[in-house]
Symmetry: C2
Subunit: 200 residues, 2 copies
């Protein structure tokens, strides 16, 4: 059984969202599983000296256009949300709390969160909204609310973010296949070829 594909992403990242709509089918086509790992891009930015794309002169205006165009290119529903970007901390904590119980449910929850933000325009940085998305996935709202505020869940999230950075993740999506890193939704074609040939 080949190793799962590592899929690192930030809940505020449009390109992470686009990849999230494609990665499972792509992996499955090649008989692979995917480990979903949200992290905080802002922590990596402290090392790379980068910043949220839309805050950068010249790049900002370009990326607002490119995000919409790229979603369209991949056939993924997309409405550029406002506010943007947002803090991914609360949905990441909810994810890791759930992930410790049921990784498949956590993945479905991650997809639901991404769609809530990038399709329905719901600000998932708010605990109330993250709890509401959880409730739609069949989870108990009070348990989710308690989990988000739980110090153990905060610590777990911090550990997972540190692990992502240790693995070299500095962008979103950041995909690792058997040690080979791929950054960006625009590397999905290379991911596909790599999975097919085992390197080329």
């Amino acid at each position: 059984m080949p190793s799962p594909i590592e899929f690192y992403f930030d809940f505020s990242s449009p390109y992470g969202y686009i990849a999230s709509e494609k990665i499972d089918a792509l992996a499955s086509k090649h008989g692979r599983e995917v480990t979903w790992r949200p992290y905080l891009l802002g922590v990596a930015f402290k090392t790379t000296g980068s910043a949220p794309l839309t805050s950068i002169p010249m790049k900002g205006a370009y990326h607002l256009r490119d995000m919409i165009r790229t979603a369209k290119y991949y056939g993924v529903a997309y409405h550029h949300p406002s506010p943007f970007p947002i803090s991914p901390v609360t949905p990441s904590r909810a994810f890791y709390w759930l992930h410790a119980k049921d990784s498949k449910l956590a993945r479905d929850f991650a997809k639901a969160l991404y769609r809530a933000y990038f399709v329905d325009g719901i600000d998932i940085s708010s605990a109330d909204n993250t709890v509401a998305v959880c409730a739609r996935c069949g989870l108990n709202a009070d348990s989710v609310r308690a989990a988000i505020a739980d110090q153990a869940v905060k610590d777990l999230t911090r550990v997972e973010v540190a692990k992502a950075i240790e693995r070299g993740a500095f962008g979103s999506p950041f995909i690792i296949i058997d040690g080979e890193p791929f950054w960006g939704s625009d590397r999905l074609d290379q991911v596909d070829r790599w999975l097919q040939t085992g390197g080329w």
Copy 2:
């Protein structure tokens, strides 16, 4: 007759080189011409706060790998050169001097310069080496050497670089089709679709 595609690139950019091997055939497939416009990415970096990729923590190691892999993915010959990066000033001046005389010859010269650097490992930041590449293209070595040092050619180059930045170029390659900007060799697929559909 549709407008030519604007192709902005930096002579030290691996992704610019990869695109340079593809852009003419891609444009021609859709009945378009290409205007080749070398510029100095370092000037745009002053606005975007960016830096040469390989100098950035985390990103540097990734991109060294990605440049080689991406060239392979596109079937483009590539040997990562040393020194890297280099100043693109001298080859850009030689280009614009030649471009004022013969734009088609200037394009062929740009391709030859890129290959000299990214295939043969010749440091084209040196005037001697740029002159040698020119000579291989059938140009008179003394004329090229004089042109590179000519204040009028330096001024012309400065004007063209300023124009590129005014058009919004901040990366390499940076491709504009009827006002729509595409950044990166990884946007060639979107360029192809855009040319086919006139936007989508």
